[in-house]
């Protein structure tokens, strides 16, 4: 848009003045040819037009006459005005659509060039020529000039198009066309603005006039200036001043700038009147705005409601549900038949006017408490029991507030749930019993799974057991057969639940009693198999891996009876391999001998063996079951951690990465074999007080091979170990037999170092109360730690406080 456009936005008078000057000059010209006369005439017409129109807003008339004048000019064949709203073209005056997609293309190319010239002369290929020809005329010798009028702040543009018979019109015509363009620009601007104003004005008028609430606007004396349809409908022009409607006091309040909200009676109508003052720009009250609603209408509505209520009443009476309406005190207003019969009455009058509390034991004690609760909520559920003489029935009661007139009433629906209630109570009782049984069984099961003491130096182990919600059929054990041989069992009874766990318990007993000759493994397995065949139902079986490790040469003999392949990690090469060999599950065939399926392997000097039940491989990752290869990877990654954290880590990683998790029980057993550790003696016991004595005996046996202990050394070691172990069992592991206490000890010349570790959260040795303090002198406990300190030469704790290291110097006494 050029500078000229901006100038044109000045008032019309200025533009007219400028033009007047222009023509005065033209008039002064000595040579006035014919064309000049034409222009003069047109100008005069235009100026007259401006003088005669009542409003500049009568744009259409002015523009039409512009165009009429224009076509009277020689060389001007035709002139168009097109309006473009950004999407399509319409006729600038009639707003009839002008259909031409090419015109849009033209608009895009020519409208919005920033350095827009006053006009454009499109080339011969332009769509405008073709549009011109559409009217049946030839475009031969015609030149088009397009004057764009862009109102980008209004989102509209116009094209003022002139078709000339002369290729290069003289400057007179050019100037005149520019003059017209500027006039048009201004006029169309006014037209667009008024159009927009009209639309919003119409909207507001619509809101005002068609509002269902009566509205009037008055001057500051209360004279009604305007009212809407509803206002005149109510009052039928019965008053001119609102002081006829509202009292003086209210009017004064309004005049003082306050808002008004009050009910008035007028012409047998109940009217609710709201009013606000209207202000001048300078803050003084210039008038008032009043809204009036007719309450008498609502009375009519009430009447209609009453008739429908009658129908409602009839419906309620025959409802298959007890229904009553009571007031705030619990006094019965209305009962339906169902409710009446349920209390043993046949006429409603006997119940009406009596209190609910006469018939029911209320859960809250009194009805007032129910009212208090219902104030906060719109409806409530309760259980009411009818009193003994009304049958002691139990009702589920739904209470809700009811608004009828000004009374606050409560509606209550009664449903007899006596039978359901009794059944439910029984069911709950039964469930509770089963729950209790299951939790006892689970506790027993965990005891069964606890591994007995182990005192082989070259072998350590970690276990992981996650019970399913039901009881499980997993079973594992590490059994010290003799000083050299350690047996490993891991097994899984098919199915789950109580039956699977019973089968697994049977297995535990069979394993306990089976002949455990380390050189005749197949005897053991055959024994167990024969035992299981006798007791197992046909479709049940047990998978089991049974192996015996010779800790002197690290060979393992084993049979795998249908159990998932154990994985072996060679600590030196870092390789993970499966233990090969597979035989039939136990309990399937009575006369089968497992001798032929015996395997013997040489284990690496340092290795870790992972045994597991199939619970862990029923997890699904990316919709397919985990396989041994997946597990190998989890195992390998887990190996970077400390041994005690490995199994937990494998489990949590699998849980994290799998999308389908099964509720089977999951057991893992990790064996750690390391010949290099053999110089340290190792011992592991479940957290059971009774195991402590045995453990200390084994340790003393071990020491006895190197030192012959005197009586004094002997009791000092005994007592210290006892105190340390009882602390680990009691305070560390809290008697949980699933948790283990390990003792590692080493003899270096005449020093013995003991390490006692538990799986507890540890303790802060500084926080142990000093037994020598006056307040603690008489306490029966708390002397253990102090005692060890007195008997041993040195004592240390790790940071966590779950490991005690004791140093003892053999005195020979």
């Amino acid at each position: 848009m050029g500078l000229g456009f901006t100038l044109i936005l000045l008032p019309v008078a200025l533009a007219a003045g400028f033009l007047a000057g222009y023509f005065i000059r033209r008039n002064a010209s000595p040579t006035v040819n014919g064309r000049d006369q034409v222009f003069q005439t047109i100008h005069r017409n235009i100026m007259e037009l401006y003088g005669n129109v009542t409003s500049l807003l009568n744009v259409e008339k002015i523009i039409t006459s512009f165009f009429q004048s224009l076509t009277r000019i020689p060389f001007v064949q035709d002139a168009w005005l097109l309006r473009y709203d950004g999407t399509a073209f319409v006729d600038g005056l009639t707003r009839e659509p002008v259909e031409s997609p090419e015109l849009n293309e033209f608009a895009r190319n020519n409208f919005f060039n920033p350095d827009g010239d006053d006009y454009i002369e499109p080339d011969r290929n332009s769509v405008l020529y073709r549009l011109y020809e559409r009217g049946g005329k030839s475009s031969e010798g015609i030149t088009v000039q397009v004057f764009p009028l862009v109102y980008d702040f209004l989102g509209t543009s116009y094209l003022f198009i002139v078709f000339l018979t002369k290729p290069n019109p003289d400057s007179q015509l050019s100037k005149f066309l520019l003059f017209l363009k500027r006039q048009l620009f201004l006029l169309l601007y006014l037209k667009e603005l008024s159009f927009k104003y009209k639309a919003s004005q119409e909207f507001l008028e619509g809101v005002f006039h068609n509002n269902p609430v009566a509205i009037c606007i008055t001057d500051y004396n209360g004279e009604v200036q305007r009212g809407n349809k509803e206002f005149y409908r109510i009052f039928l022009k019965s008053f001119q001043n609102i002081r006829n409607l509202i009292d003086d006091e209210s009017f004064q309040a309004l005049a003082d700038g306050r808002t008004l909200e009050k009910d008035f009676h007028f012409d047998q109508k109940n009217l609710k009147v709201r009013g606000i003052p209207l202000y001048e720009m300078n803050g003084t009250v210039k008038g008032f705005l009043l809204t009036v609603t007719d309450d008498s209408l609502q009375h009519l509505l009430y009447k209609r409601l009453e008739s429908s209520e009658e129908r409602y009443r009839k419906l309620l009476k025959e409802l298959p549900l007890g229904l009553i309406i009571v007031n705030q005190e619990g006094i019965i207003y209305f009962v339906n038949d169902n409710f009446m019969y349920s209390l043993g009455y046949s006429v409603p009058e006997k119940l009406q006017g009596r209190s609910l509390e006469e018939f029911f034991d209320l859960p809250t004690g009194s009805f007032v408490d129910i009212i208090k609760q219902i104030e906060k909520k719109d409806y409530l559920y309760f259980k009411f029991q009818s009193k003994n003489r009304y049958g002691s029935r139990i009702f589920s009661v739904n209470l809700r507030k009811l608004y009828i007139g000004s009374d606050n009433l409560i509606e209550a629906a009664f449903q007899d749930v006596t039978l359901e209630n009794a059944l439910y109570a029984q069911l709950e009782e039964k469930n509770k019993l089963i729950e209790e049984e299951l939790s006892t069984a689970r506790a027993v099961w965990e005891h069964i799974l606890s591994i007995p003491p182990l005192y082989s130096s070259a072998l350590r182990f970690e276990t992981f057991y996650k019970a399913s919600y039901q009881l499980g059929g997993d079973f594992y054990d590490v059994i010290q057969i003799d000083d050299v041989h350690v047996a490993i069992v891991i097994a899984d009874a098919s199915g789950h639940g109580v039956s699977a766990s019973l089968v697994a318990s049977m297995l535990k007993i069979l394993v306990e009693f089976a002949p455990k000759d380390p050189h005749k493994i197949s005897d053991m397995v055959d024994y167990i198999n024969t035992g299981l065949v006798k007791i197992l139902p046909e479709d049940q079986y047990i998978t089991m891996f049974y192996g015996v490790i010779d800790t002197t040469n690290y060979t393992m003999e084993y049979v795998n009876c249908g159990h998932p392949f154990p994985l072996v990690h060679d600590d030196r090469t870092g390789e993970v391999t499966m233990l090969p060999g597979m035989s039939f599950p136990l309990g399937t065939s009575a006369n089968f001998s497992y001798e032929g399926d015996l395997k013997k392997v040489q284990l690496p000097a340092a290795c870790k063996i992972l045994l597991y039940t199939d619970g862990i491989i029923t997890f699904k990752k990316n919709n397919s079951l985990l396989n041994t290869e997946d597990l190998k990877q989890y195992f390998k990654t887990g190996l970077q951690l400390q041994t005690k954290d490995m199994l937990n880590d494998i489990y949590t990683r699998i849980i994290r990465e799998c999308n389908t998790i099964s509720d089977d029980d999951i057991s893992m057993l990790l064996l750690v074999l390391n010949r290099n550790l053999a110089y340290k003696k190792f011992l592991s016991i479940p957290s059971n007080v009774l195991e402590i004595d045995y453990a200390i005996m084994k340790i003393k046996e071990g020491i006895g091979l190197i030192h012959s202990l005197g009586e004094e050394d002997s009791w000092k070691i005994y007592t210290s170990l006892y105190e340390a172990l009882i602390n680990a069992v009691e305070h560390g592991n809290r008697f949980n037999v699933q948790k283990r206490v390990t003792v590692i000890y080493r003899i270096v010349k005449n020093w013995i170092v003991f390490k006692v570790r538990d799986e507890g959260t540890g303790f802060d040795v500084k926080k142990v109360p000093n037994p020598l303090e006056e307040a603690n002198l008489l306490k029966p406990s708390g002397r253990g730690v102090f005692m060890i300190r007195k008997l041993m030469n040195k004592i240390k704790y790790n940071k966590t406080g779950n490991e005690t290291t004791m140093f003892f110097r053999v005195s020979g006494k």
Binding site: Y722, E723, I726, L777, L778, P780, R783, M787
Partner: protein, 108 residues
């Protein structure tokens, strides 16, 4: 736990014939003492001359018995401690509560 109960100078004499380290032993020890006190014995001598060592729980039970006895105005005598245990008892300042005598004859 092996023990004998007899009379000595009008007092009850409890002779312990074993070590008192383990938890089960300590519990039995407590039961024996409780029975004696419940049976109306107010003056009790405990003879430890056959005992090589006592654990912290054994000491704990001893203190429980002492408290019960003082509550009813009774007395607890300890005798027959070997050097190490006597040392330990003194470390725990138990001599401030019990009468610790070297042998039975010193009890009057």
């Amino acid at each position: 736990m092996k023990y004998d109960i007899s009379e000595f100078k009008g007092k009850t004499l409890l002779k312990i014939r074993e070590n008192l380290v383990t938890d089960p032993d300590a519990r039995e020890f407590k039961e024996v003492l409780t029975n004696l006190i419940d049976g109306g014995k107010k003056e009790i001598i405990i003879d430890f001359s056959d005992m090589v060592f006592i654990g912290s729980s054994g000491i704990g039970k001893l203190l429980l018995a002492y408290k019960r006895l003082t509550d009813i105005g009774g007395k607890l005598y300890i005798t027959g401690l070997n050097k190490d245990i006597k040392d330990l008892f003194y470390t725990f300042r138990l001599n401030e509560f019990f009468k610790i005598e070297d042998n039975l004859d010193s009890i009057r």
